[in-house]
Symmetry: D5
Subunit: 96 residues, 10 copies
């Protein structure tokens, strides 16, 4: 089941650089693990912004929420979720 | 080069059913051809709406505009385009 | 799996009264059947508006979209969908 | 009498972790007591957000306001209230 | 129990003048009866707009919704409802 | 002459409790004096918010501005003013 | 007493040209009379729009509303009113 | 050449009172000089807000920008600029 | 003097194709003449929309308004104007 | 390939003046180098705001994102990107 997720990151200016770097590295590691597991199906950067558009493939809304709130950057993000479904004109069999 | 495209369709209530059906079928044929050619990489329905989220893979902004305005439903759609680029945490090699 | 759905209805002023009445009756019949089947878990009117807040309990986003687009009033509604999940402070076992 | 309440929580980054934990526990205790008393009829988490959708069942607007402002997290929440009433198509007798 | 109600009226340009006049007179008669009965406590025109701000005093949300939807202009109005309660600094005993 | 005034209060989290309490008490005293003088005709709390809807009865816009800016909480409020006038359907003689 | 008024005009495309011309001429005559009488103090066109910014000088909100609703284009305008008062840094004695 | 300028002032709560007073006095002196020179043609306070509506009369957009950014409060203001031109119904010869 | 102009075109669905074609051709001829005269300095299509971003170079706001309202598509466009001035970091001498 | 970029700068009030000056100078140096290289084709100040409208000419979205995020002021800017393409009425051969 696919969900369209947009994340806008806003790190406080007062955060020490080292703390920010650690946070981003942990975020990256988790993001890559979730992608390899197939849960985080797509991850794109929005040009000019510290923001991304992602497609998650999960078994339930609860699983989606658990994944999103486990992200180290979650406390610093604004997240919008939009449920997706198969488009009748889609030709890609697995793309939903 | 990837672009995130959201299309909201709004057919006038006064359009004859047959005209609408022809329009949708032509749209579907073109959408499927563009998907097979790799130009229209993803196409998802937004739940509860006559709207979709799409990912286009084109060589230029001009090509994107030409594709979008060639859609039979173009005169009845509101379209928002957002340029995407590779996310540093993405693990999928071709996904940009 | 629960989804929060808000529907705003906007019937065109030009629709004949009888057509509107038939549409609303068919909508009511389907809404009541879906409630009895447990798919449409809650249905409330928003005070002062021709609009409702509903809670749907479905197995997938595709099922939700199929239900919503099958409603006779669908072409005349603006619909917003928001995925819900269990709240850690909830005490009601089945309420998610 | 039912009210649809949406609460968005925004704890300041500068709040000590222990203070936040105490606040959340007190909030949870009160939320669960109000649910058991039937005042807070439903409580759902919105996926991807530190926010909830709730249905309150109270005897008056004043009672609703008293309950909401008694919540420990009230100073850190943005709250929107929408009065609900029985929908003519609802089949659930007590659901209003 | 008080509710703050804002009504914006939008009569279609195609409505015959006589029909509009009848509609407005019936609306006025009902508005005045409801005011005399104490249900429609205040009614003010917003300067420069075909709109009003009203205060309703009702026993329940259902009663409010029944009153509002019984207005002849209801199909041509956008209505926003905001529940009010006693302000701790108010000195007027009956003003809630 | 009546004006519809909405005030949203936002005290900084860093304000000492005692300072806030003094501010609120002074605000309350002034609000009550202005109500008794007939300048601040109505004062209602908006349910679930630290906000009010008020009706002021003043001789001029300048008088209104002077009253509003004299409120101790003025520096911490967002204020919206909407000029009201007599509604042709109003039955209350002094209500404008 | 001064009020800042913004008027956006939106004539329906279906209005016959002659009717529109008559409407605009009557509007212009009245606007010029009100300016000469000192009620409509300033009248500027907003560049690129069929819209204006105006300053009215009236004795009461009721007078303002009566003037605005007497304009022949009133049914085709969206109007926003903002009460103004003397600015403490203003050096122009009559400009309020 | 006239420009409609709206300025909303937002001084940080942490600014020492004396610094704020100096800033405001310098702002006032400059505002009055620019008014006397005819550059700042009108200056009105918006009722209930720390904001003003102004009309500037300048020879170019560059001159306007230079004036606005020279204001001592500029770093604490949100400014919106709207170009104005002569309205065909205006009767005041110099009012553009 | 430069102005940033965004035009969104919205032709009514009921307009005969021939009328639309004539309108667009006349618009194009005028647009090209104004570009050659140096008044309409840049003209770009916004991808996916029947809209453009333009830069006009005019001697006054009145000239800009006259040019914009002379466009054949003016009655069918929503136009937003934003005054531009020389950026201190610009290296292009004539680009303002 | 052209992109329309709007940048709004918001430096924190707490930033030391010297740090801000250094940041702005480095930004200016880079902006001028990118203009000379033809990547940053236009750069205009929006009147009355600490903001600019720019036109970038890049080979890909990735190149655009790399340029924008390399700006020293990037962490303090809100950036909106809009892809542009050749307008059919444009007469300037290289302007796309």
């Amino acid at each position: 089941m696919l969900f369209h997720v947009r994340m806008n990151v806003n790190l406080p200016a007062s955060m020490p650089l080292e703390e920010a770097a650690t946070l981003k590295q942990t975020e990256k590691d988790l993001a890559q693990r979730l992608q390899r597991e197939g849960k985080w199906r797509h991850l794109w950067r929005i040009a000019g912004q510290y923001a991304n558009v992602s497609i998650f493939d999960v078994d339930s809304v609860d699983e989606l929420h658990t994944l999103l709130t486990s992200l180290p950057l979650f406390p610093y993000m604004h997240i919008d979720v939009m449920p997706l479904c198969r488009h009748p004109s889609s030709v890609r069999d697995g793309d939903f």
